[in-house]
Amino acid sequence: MLSALHIAIPPTPVLLSQLLIGLINGAFYAMLSLGLAVIFGLLNIINFTHGAQYMLGAFCAWFLLQFTGIGYWPALVIAPLVVAAVGIVLERLFLRHIYRLDHLYGLLLTFGLALIIEGVFRNEYGSSGQPYSIPSQLTGAQNLGFMFLPNYRAWVIGASVVVCLGTWFLIERTRLGAYLRAATENPTLVQAFGINVPRMVTLTYGFGAGLAALAGVMAAPIYQVSPLMGSNLIVVVFAVVVIGGMGSILGAVVSGFVLGLVEGLTKVFYPEASNTVIFVVMAIVLLVKPAGLFGRTA
């Protein structure tokens, strides 16, 4: 069968390194779709600005290094906080006016905000990328016997798994998360119990934006820091979200990693399709299980 299709089995190192790249991409898909799912859960808004916030996170880290000499590790904390603050301002200024409208307006509004943010950065920095070097503690690679694993990539995968599980724990297993889930189900009732739902909504949006920025900082040394880095990614993440369904946090995380791997595998066996494979998977999932693999409602 394989020989009939003229598909050669690639040597193991090639396969493994592509799988590693797939896993790295998957880590970013997972973190971004997680943020989208958290925001969508409470605000019922698909945050089109998510890609721009990811880009802002990367640029924030770059600014910190460039103008104040603050390195990667502090930036990992500062950039998400800054972008979260920007997100909170956006929510207070714009998003809160449209909650009572059709959800599609939320998509259009955040799309407009993304255009503005990306346009401003493109005006300043063009579409070329700025390099951001790997922190000195994480340079080099481990020889695993069957392949070389760059330290930084191992860190990104490990850190994103921790971030995803941490978010899952926060939402599914803590009191704060319980309030959040309750407010998702019935905001009016939760408000009647004396919980400040509007503030929770604002903070949730800030949290989602911060997650995107964290992913952006982690991406900065791997991909270049460029104004368009987010907008190219966000469409893929939308497809990931459609495949996983936004019903569950774990669903978003698992489908993010798995689709990253699928993309990596496609690069080995049929490179021409590696850009489109996630969209093809999406089409198949829509045919077989329209609500998404982990979706609760149609």
């Binding site: 969508f40 698909i46 714009f94 006016h97 449209i98 009572r100 409208l101 059709d102 959800h103 599609l104 307006y105 939320g106 998509l107 259009l108 509004l109 799309f111 407009g112 905000l113 993304a114 255009l115 503005i116 943010i117 990306e118 346009g119 401003v120 493109r122 005006n123 469409v235 893929v236 939308f238 497809a239 979200v241 459609v242 021409e272 850009n275 489109t276 996630i278 969209f279 093809v280 999406m282 089409a283 829509l286 045919l287 329209p290 149609a298």
Partner: protein
Amino acid sequence: MAGAPGAAGIGGGAAALSPRGNLILTVVLVALAIAAPFFFYPVFLMKALCFALFACAFNLLLGYVGLLSFGHAAFMGSAAYITAYGVKAWGLPPLIGILAGTAVAAFLGTVFGWLAIRRQGIYFAMVTLALSQMIFFVALQAKFTGGEDGIQAVPRGYLFGVIDLGQPLTMYYFVLAIFLIGFAIIYRTIHSPFGQVLKAIRENEPRAISLGYKTDQYKLLAFILSATLAGLAGATKSIVFQLASLTDVTWQMSGEVVLMTLIGGLGTVFGPVVGAFISVTMENYLAQYGSWVTIIQGVIFVICVLTFRRGVVGEIAHLVRRFAAPAKEEVVHAATRPAPGE
């Protein structure tokens, strides 16, 4: 989603003029369009007309069925590529080339629509966006599309073998005729019983289902029609500019048509036309400022969503209605108050 009708729903609440008002306005506008090339640059007018048809096709879906497609560039772009390739490489006559491009858009619309109507609301938008991004990558990688260069120097050729479309004025009237045909099809669709069912689906889909309408079939048919006409616009555009390029299949283009429709007025007959002219004019003047076009488009998006949801035409219609019948307006307003939540 389905439970949020009227002012809160996409497209709902924006009123059209009376049929007679529409007829008079149409006659006036057609007369203006015939005279226009003597006062304005024909290429500008042709560009605006192509985008106007594109926006009208898009509005059929968003304004009258309540489906936000974020991937309409796929239909416009693929039709443009097929037409450009057919005319240039195979030497097809322009009209046959345009029909071929339109047919491909119709086919794509059938497949995409069939997939996308399985999900509603926001998911529908994301699905169409993702599917159109697939077309973008195909256009980027396929051999016949010319990659980053696109298909350039497409000959305009001779209409029916005799009429030289190389003449700007002739080409303009050809484009105007195509636009009017497309516009008439949309107008007829909106004002037919089929169109009434579409509006019922927009306002309250579960109720339309409970009344016995197979809403999926209606939505699919509307999607195919919208995609086909978007393709017609793209095919015509590729003959006008003698070019099919990646710009036409990017998601930014899909966003632009949303913006045109939003500025002009969702769910109004003439809104998308007005929006397209505003948008194309704006781009003409701002082209030299690079990314400022994107920023200003973003600002307009934000303003439209926050304070100007009826759009130019919708706002005018609203004022006219309020002026004509102040008492009736009260009743309408109360009836279309947004329903809380889902």
